[in-house]
Amino acid sequence: MARTLPALGVGVVVVLAGVALATMRVNPYLYFAGYVILQYVVIATAWNILGGYGGYVNFGTPAFFALGAYTAVFLIRSIKAPLPVLIVAGGLVAALLGLGIGYLTLRLRGTFFSIATLALSVVLQTMIINWEYVGGSRGISVIRPSGPPFGNYVVFLFTVMLGLAVVAVLVARFIERSWIGRGLAALRDNEEAAECMGVPTLRLKLFATTISGFLLGVAGAPFPYYVTFVEPNSAFALDYAVNALAMPMIGGTTSWVGPVIGAVLLGTTQQLATVTISSELNLLIVGVVLVAFVVLAPEGILGLVRRVRGRI
């Protein structure tokens, strides 16, 4: 507990700094790129709660993200709900799906669980494609509300996403350092032994899938306002699954810092590659970066740092 308060303090400072940055209105492009990177901080952190701490590899990240986004689309279309409502609702709906896959863990482990989440993503995408109200396969344009703070809606979204990222990281950090995190680590190492040592494994798994799902949904909820056009192919893009997995791997999965580092690194690389390299080579670079990182930094950046420090 003693270390939670300072962490909260740091979080608040980060958000305030973000707001200050927003009011300063430096180059607007930075907010756009920053938004995407922060969105990946949330996604990677959320994924890591289940995948890194608990050892259950979720391939269905796109499903949760898209569920958050489409919940928002539905609420915007039906009742023009304000952004906070969208975020909470998107999170809750995705959390429900998380709870659902939590029950899958009763029977499925390892690869089987991963493939099941992938299957879930396909099923969900098909449902969205056939649901005309939210645009079906044609997609839907979303009109941003007028008169946002800071003059520009994306600058506003940037600060919102910064806040969400801080919340996600704080949640992850709290989990990691509580009995929940230790219990998850135990069940990651050996589920049967954990259960026999009194760890309520099912409850912990349900908690992890739900909270992970919630945060993934939260990451997706502002997405419609960011792109202003949502369609299934990009909302369910494989990129989210790859990034959600790769970012914590690159950063390091055992600590909350890992996904943040990974998201910032890989996210920035992707953003930079997109807007500096005017050809398909931008994707090649992302591929090479992925390969290079996992080959050269076996335990993630964190592991690398620890090793270098250990040597000195």
Binding site: F32, R138, Y226, N233, V275, S278, S279
Partner: protein, 397 residues
């Protein structure tokens, strides 16, 4: 700072160089590059050279806001055009509106219906009623046949363009008093189309309208041959059949298909000034760029799109976005695809989506597709270059 005469005019855009739409995005890029070279050869715009700044949008709409903000705020481009395709135009609209830009849309279907932004202009010749534009010629032709077909089957992929085409088709079916006997969609990743085709055949329709992307266009057509589906008219909105690689590979299997198109090497189009030079240049550069070797489908329009923009800049003698837009709205332009006049919502004032029929194709040589006679234009009447072989089975022989 005041722009010096030698400072380039920067034209910025995102383009699908990877992902699902790159087969169209890359040729579009080449066309724009050819235009830039042409313009610069003639001394540029306003005496300043034109420079292109573009990025790969990966056919993913979520990259578009970032790309255009970068273009506008970091690269400080003077003019923007959209990337290729409806889904990539949609996220650009709010940015353009917020910054009051003139934006040229490259093949977007009904993007402006929701926004009604006056400074948006779109080059696909869909006309004032975009939704029905793909199918209108198809059903119009069907209605002219004797005896008039009664029943129709429509089928399409669960994706943006096919779904729009199907919506239009359903409306036209109502308008022409036809009876729908089959109306279903399939996922774009379908591998086997024979069950679908067989189910359609079981309903015994007079006409079959297909709205599909390239892999499914090929799949549907092959399956139709294998299953022996022979309605009186077959085709409609099958994207990809006009791609050179597809045409040469499919060969005679294309015969008889009635399909939408935008351009065909038929006399009415070849007569337009500038087109031959463009195609020559395009075909010379196509292989190196790794794009469609003939460029008969979209590239002329992509070129025309920047032609319009360039002409407007020259005419308004500046880069004032509002003045450029006002000029485009008011003027009829001469381009390599003919006269272009924009109307409601920035669409062509009068639609010009073609309906063509593949005829007398044999073997797989590319050369047969270079000249007239293989892709006969049936609709609209002012571009007509041949007659419909009816019914479909007759064209198969």
């Amino acid at each position: 700072p005041v722009a010096r005469a030698a400072d380039p005019i920067k034209l910025g855009f995102g383009m699908a160089l990877t992902g699902g739409l790159s087969a169209n995005g890359k040729p579009a890029l080449l066309a724009v590059e050819i235009w830039k070279d042409d313009v610069n050869k003639k001394g540029g715009l306003l005496g300043r050279p034109v420079q292109l700044i573009y990025y790969d949008d990966q056919t993913n709409p979520s990259t578009v806001p970032g790309i255009y903000t970068k273009l506008l705020d970091v690269d400080k481009v003077d003019l923007v055009i959209s990337g290729y395709g409806t889904n990539l135009i949609a996220p650009l609209m709010p940015i353009a509106m917020e910054r009051k830009l003139t934006v040229m849309g490259m093949f977007g279907l009904a993007n402006n219906e929701k926004y009604q932004y006056p400074n948006y202009f779109q080059i696909q010749p869909a006309g004032p009623d975009p939704q029905t534009s793909t199918a209108i010629g198809f059903f119009e032709l069907a209605a002219r046949q004797n005896p008039k077909p009664q029943t129709v089957a429509i089928v399409g992929a669960d994706a943006e363009y096919p779904q729009n085409a199907l919506v239009g088709a359903r409306e036209l079916i109502k308008r022409y008093g036809l009876k729908t006997v089959y109306d279903k969609t399939y996922p774009p990743s379908t591998v086997d189309y024979t069950p679908i085709v067989r189910a359609i055949k079981a309903t015994n329709p007079d006409i079959v309208f297909v709205a599909s992307y390239p892999p499914d266009s090929v799949g549907m057509l092959r399956a139709a041959h294998e299953v022996g589906l022979q309605p009186k008219i077959f085709g409609g909105g099958m994207v990809g059949l006009m791609f050179t690689t597809v045409m040469t590979s499919m060969g005679s299997m294309l015969n008889g298909v009635v399909n939408y198109d935008f351009w065909a090497p038929e006399p009415p189009f070849l007569a337009i000034p500038g087109i031959k030079e463009f195609l020559k240049e395009y075909q010379a550069r196509a292989e190196k760029a790794g794009v469609d070797p003939l460029g008969y489908y979209l590239p002329p329009y992509s070129y025309a799109l920047v032609q319009v923009l360039g002409q407007a800049v020259e005419a308004t003698k500046g880069l004032d976005q509002q003045k450029i837009a006002d000029h485009i709205r008011a003027t009829e332009f001469n381009t390599i695809v003919g006269k272009v006049k924009f109307g409601k919502n920035g669409e062509w004032a009068k639609g010009r989506t073609l309906m063509v029929q593949y005829q007398k194709i044999s073997g797989n040589s590319i050369d047969q597709f270079r000249g007239p006679g293989k892709k006969v234009v049936l609709y609209p009447d002012e571009f007509k270059s041949g007659n419909l072989i009816y019914p479909y089975a007759a064209a198969l022989k």
